[in-house]
């Protein structure tokens, strides 16, 4: 084929691409003709086959909602992983957000609230919806006195213990802090990593810091510090940092925790190389999966109360932090509201059934026979909860979170003292309102 002909062919291909593009673009721009109202929905659940319990709940809820509202077309675009956290803010900046989108409450929602991108739900929710929620579950979605999102499920973090490894080491499942430290020493002597920690991804270390702070200072002091109504450099929090340091020096997390990622740490626990892991309930599915080497061998427990701490073992690290926001520019919010309400409540229910956590909506008891046993056990434990404090990296703004992580990583690498660490948090976070 001579050059001119080949070039002509390529030019045609390019022209066709552009034409197709313009056509597709045209389709996108025009509203769907016909009677169906359309709702655009974005979420981070992109894989309909995912075993992640949040994803299972989401897709079930989507299906049920579509059946329940046949006159509404819900167009869903899912974006997986961290990429979602990039997509939404960019769309938010250009005011190109969809009608409904999944996001987190607390500090991470602040830019959208301040930028008037999301709808306040007070008027809409005064139709009795609020009474159907478990008290306290909307805390992270209220700014000023306006509610911006409905809660879905209550996540919790708990200490998962491999009973078999404990039994083989002649240990009983720890109920007190001393029993925990004894177990750590004994397990380490046997060459087992006592507690799996994926510090490379930073937030698992934050989890430990948070629960120790809650144990030493109590839930209200923790929440006050996170909301900047209270300090971070209290003696209790310094004591908590010291306890964290003690655990590290005791070898509780093994030698390589700094280079171990979150996935690695879960793997260590699942393959029996580590005896415990302090993690959110999303791992329930993996632990009880059919191919899991530790299926049936794990029991979740509260992190024991720390001697000298103001908090009790019924203070919980967790809460409601995930929600769906509605676009502030919605023209037909009264029509979208029932769909939105139904969707969130259904997802909460399905999440509970999938073992992701308890629903934030009061409901009649459901069929628990097929539920994940760990989820059931956690449900029983958390029924006695005296307070909740949510994940730091959600309540704090993005910037504060990064500052916190920077100081935290220095601290657990042994580069700063507990006092210095607490002071850094105070300076970088609390003092900057």
């Amino acid at each position: 084929m001579n050059r001119t002909k080949r070039f002509g062919l390529i030019a045609c291909a390019v022209a066709v691409t552009f034409a197709a593009g313009a056509y597709a673009g045209g389709q996108g721009e025009s509203k769907a003709s016909g009677q169906k109202a359309k709702i655009t929905l974005w979420s981070q659940f992109a894989d309909p086959k995912s075993m992640d319990s949040g994803a299972i709940a989401f897709f079930k809820a989507l299906e049920n909602t579509r059946t329940r509202f046949p006159d509404v077309e819900i167009e869903h675009v899912g974006t997986g992983g961290e990429a979602y956290k990039q997509k939404i803010p960019v769309a938010g900046a250009a005011n190109e957000l969809p009608d409904m989108f999944f996001w987190w409450g607390g500090g991470t929602a602040e830019p959208f609230i301040k930028g008037n991108r999301v709808l306040a739900l007070n008027d809409l929710a005064s139709d009795g919806t609020l009474k159907r929620l478990v008290p306290g579950t909307t805390d992270n979605f209220v700014f000023g006195d306006k509610l911006y999102g409905l809660p879905i499920y209550i996540s919790t973090a708990q200490l998962y213990v491999n009973k078999e490894l404990f039994l083989n080491a002649g240990l009983k499942v720890p109920a007190t802090w001393d029993e925990l430290t004894t177990a750590i020493v004994a397990l380490k002597a046997k060459g087992i990593i006592p507690i799996a920690l994926g510090a490379k991804d930073r937030w698992p270390a934050m989890f430990w810091n948070a629960i120790l702070d809650i144990r030493m200072g109590g839930v209200s002091a923790m929440n006050a510090a996170l909301k900047k109504t209270g300090p971070f450099n209290t003696p209790e929090f310094v004591a908590a940092a010291k306890k964290f340091d003690e655990l590290i020096k005791l070898g509780a997390f093994g030698d390589n925790y700094m280079g171990t990622s979150y996935d690695d740490s879960v793997n260590l626990f699942l393959t029996g190389k580590a005896a415990m892991i302090y993690m959110g309930a999303w791992v329930n599915g993996q632990i009880e999966a059919d191919n899991s080497p530790v299926k049936g061998k794990v029991v979740p427990i509260n992190v024991p109360a720390v001697p000298g701490g103001k908090g009790s073992s019924n203070d919980w690290h967790g809460g409601c932090g995930e929600t769906f926001f509605m676009n502030a520019n919605l023209k037909n919010k009264e029509q979208v509201w029932p769909v939105y309400k139904y969707f969130v409540e259904t997802m909460a229910k399905e999440a509970f059934l999938a073992g992701s956590g308890s629903s934030a909506w009061l409901s009649e008891s459901s069929d628990v026979a097929k539920m994940n046993i760990l989820a059931l056990q956690i449900g029983l434990l958390s029924a006695k909860a005296t307070g909740f404090s949510y994940w730091w990296d959600q309540i704090l703004t993005g910037n504060d979170t990064e500052s916190m992580f920077g100081s935290l990583m220095q601290f657990i690498a042994g580069k700063s003292s507990p006092e210095q660490y607490a002071q850094e948090l105070q300076t970088k976070i609390s003092d900057r309102k």
Binding site: V90, G92, R202, D255, M258, D264, L268, T397, T401, S403
Partner: protein, 301 residues
Amino acid sequence: MTSVFCDRKAIAVFVLPALILFLVVGFLPIAQSAYFSLLEWDGIGTAKFVGLSNYVDVFITDFFGIKFDHSIVNSVVLAILCVFLQLPAALALALVLASGIKGERAYRTIFFIPVVISSASIGVMFLKIYNPDFGVLNELLESAGLGVWKNDWFANERTALMSALLPVVWQYIGYHMLLMYAAIKGIPGELFEAATMDGASPIRTAFSITLPLIRPILRVCVTFAVIGSLKFFDLLFVMTGGSPSPATDVPSTLMYNTIFTRRLYGHGSTMAVFLVAECMVFYLVLQRTLKTREERGEERR
């Protein structure tokens, strides 16, 4: 004859479409970033004009502990490694492959493979190699009896930077090799035949004929290697999982973190402006020092 080469209308036709497209879609955003660098903005809400205070904070005060200056050092280390390790390796490969060795086609394809495979896979692969608990590197050392050298490669500050940079250097060897290979292939065959007839050894030919003739492309490669290193992002982002850590941060990953995670658009744009300026300086320095004889001759004329 010269009038043909000065045909103004033709010049406009040749240059304007690309120029306009580039100015609007490529240049304008950078100008906007320069404007953002004077603001305090979270990317969504209202912005506050703060003049040059972002620059002061990024380079001097560093209130948030971002440590941008340290990341610049890291990127310069990467640039040095690339110029002195990656490019010579690529050159050697290109010379050998272009000389008509057996299996040239197969090797040419194989050597380029790391460039083709997305950084996502290569990044995950190297993380598995460096993993302290069950990584390939530690297991190999253990089985070779060198267990005492086992390390937490990425987390240990002394080894972190080199561990992170070596995959980067390795990944793009094939890229530069292809450029040099294409350039070598462009040298007319008669020159080589004349050299061998005169009894020149392959090494002598390489130094006296090949290298001088592909100098312009070598300059392109050095420029890409240096500027690419200063701006490098992909593989390092995958390997650090987006989590900043002073030992392995480079300016681009910090800028990404500052803009998209910290939501400090002002600070992030400051870093962007700095990167552009830094690359420009290096570019001009390289252009100056690597001029070909012909160009120097033209200037003297």
